[in-house]
């Protein structure tokens, strides 16, 4: 393992400290229990949005705390859900009286810990669960699909509505709409190494890729020989379009997300391939996002998310945002 690390036990705390110092104009970091919150108090009457999950997906979620997105984020240990007292403390810290909406990715540990946090918090609160990963079959009898990169889009779009004074119910409704209209699938070329483990999570050959990988290096649909980008992107988009079934010329947001170890040059190449394929299928791309937003430590690979956009979604996507990892319009 080659990482910038002092002691595995201090890894998260030291990284959070650095994050707090680097972005002290936007956020503050609290420890014991740990959460990231906005530097400025949530304005009265504004619904507070709180997300969280295991660390190792940076900038998600701490990098999305700030104007127009989250009010607080709760980081767990690397790839482990945060504990309920973090959610309770964050909610008590940010709630200005309009209630708290928890945004939770569909993983068993996150679901259970957020549920317990919500039960421990005495104020008004509700939750939405994202499950955009089309690589996994959905079913009411199982854990169902994973919540992955579309969580970033949910946080941005609902964050804007909350900033504009949307109620808890309205925020939840919009979040569920964005989640339902989004589909994601990822591919990994290499594994990632959890600092506490010190070795790669899985073995993968030089000429292989994991198709449909999750965001923790957990295996995906199948192991395949690596192919040209256009073939990989085509296969990902087939799975997403099969699931989303967009209308002819329906407007979409195309989000190419890096897993942490793939350079932007490659992500833009993927974006170009995806645009061409979508155009040939009569899908209109009207908004874009390209970069490392929902990562898996140093994993090489990328995910593609397609979001079907109506006017409400577009308006809230375009609205100003100022966070450590996403900033426009202000």
């Amino acid at each position: 393992m080659k990482k910038f690390i002092n002691k595995a036990d201090d890894f998260l705390k030291e990284s959070l400290n650095g994050f707090g110092k680097a972005h002290s104009d936007i956020i503050q970091v609290s420890l014991d229990p740990s959460f990231v919150s906005r530097k400025n108090k949530t304005k009265e009457g504004k619904v507070s949005l709180i997300s969280g999950g295991g660390s190792g997906h940076e900038p998600m979620h701490g990098g999305f705390v700030g104007h127009g997105m989250l009010d607080a984020a709760c980081p767990g240990f690397v790839f482990s859900a945060p504990a309920p007292d973090q959610m309770q403390a964050a909610a008590e810290h940010v709630d200005s009286g309009a209630g708290v909406l928890f945004i939770v990715k569909n993983y068993s540990g996150d679901i259970m810990n957020f549920q317990m946090g919500a039960e421990m918090y005495s104020g008004k609160n509700d939750s939405i669960v994202t499950n955009d990963d089309v690589a996994v079959k959905d079913s009411t009898f199982t854990t169902g699909r994973r919540g992955v990169a579309a969580t970033v889009l949910v946080e941005k779009i609902v964050g804007s509505l909350a900033e504009d004074g949307g109620s808890l119910e309205e925020c939840k409704k919009l979040g569920e709409k964005v989640n339902k209209n989004a589909g994601t699938m990822g591919v990994a070329f290499t594994s990632c190494t959890v600092p506490a483990a010190g070795k790669p999570t899985f073995d993968i050959g030089d000429d292989e890729m994991e198709f449909g990988v999750g965001i923790h290096g957990e295996p995906g649909r199948k192991r395949e020989k690596i192919q040209p980008s256009k073939t990989i992107v085509g296969n990902i988009l087939d799975a997403i379009l099969d699931n989303l079934k967009p209308e002819n010329n329906e407007k979409t947001l195309l989000f190419v997300n890096g897993m942490g170890g793939t350079p932007l040059t490659e992500l833009y190449l993927v974006y170009d391939d995806a645009c061409q394929i979508l155009q040939s299928k009569g899908v209109e791309v009207t908004r874009s996002l390209v970069g490392n937003y929902c990562t898996s430590l140093e994993m090489q690979g990328a995910s593609i998310t397609l979001l079907k956009c109506d006017e409400e979604i577009l308006k809230n996507w375009d609205a100003p945002v100022h966070t450590a990892a996403m900033r426009w319009g202000m």
Binding site: A81, A83, A135
Partner: protein
Amino acid sequence: MKKETEFMSVNFLISQAKNIQKVIDENASEIEALDQNIGDGDHIFNIQRGLKLVIELEGTIKDLPLSKALNTIAMKVLSGIGGSSGALFGTFFISMAKSPDLDKDVDFSKACEMIIGGVKAMKERGKADVGEKTMMDVLIPVSEKLNEIKNNNNEIKQGLNEVIKIAEDRMLATKDMLATKGRASFLGERAKGHIDPGARSSQLIIDTICKSVINQ
């Protein structure tokens, strides 16, 4: 078995945590490898962190009444571990701490009731039942067996030997299961052929406690 056999005292809990820590550490690389096959490899670190935190509580809880000690353990497990294990084992200890009449002597029957209640609370929290390739595949049958031993007034030593056997059989049975809950559920058919890491760690915990009680 001697008359003063301990089943559930603060002392008992701490010494069991130390026994379990030793066994889990000895089997850590196996559990980690199982989790890397079908999960993401965090389970062993969460279990080890939880045991360390509980053992560190010794000085704080050793003179407390059982109800308060269990509550302190529950809060530490809940806040210090994270992941599915933190939520589930935290839920287990919260349920145990809420059992009535804890600060009178806890006999075998009462200890069984506490464990049965704790497993029931975990089942509700995780919404997982037997056959879904999780730790519940071990914990639920063990809880049912304890209930049977308690209700029929069976000989304790023989009963606990049966519990050890059930835990092992059910742990091994997770190998050929499809996962429908937890992180392995995302794998579909590919999860087959691997024992569930949570089932393995739970089986080791049960094995350790039962053997220690039998040998008291």
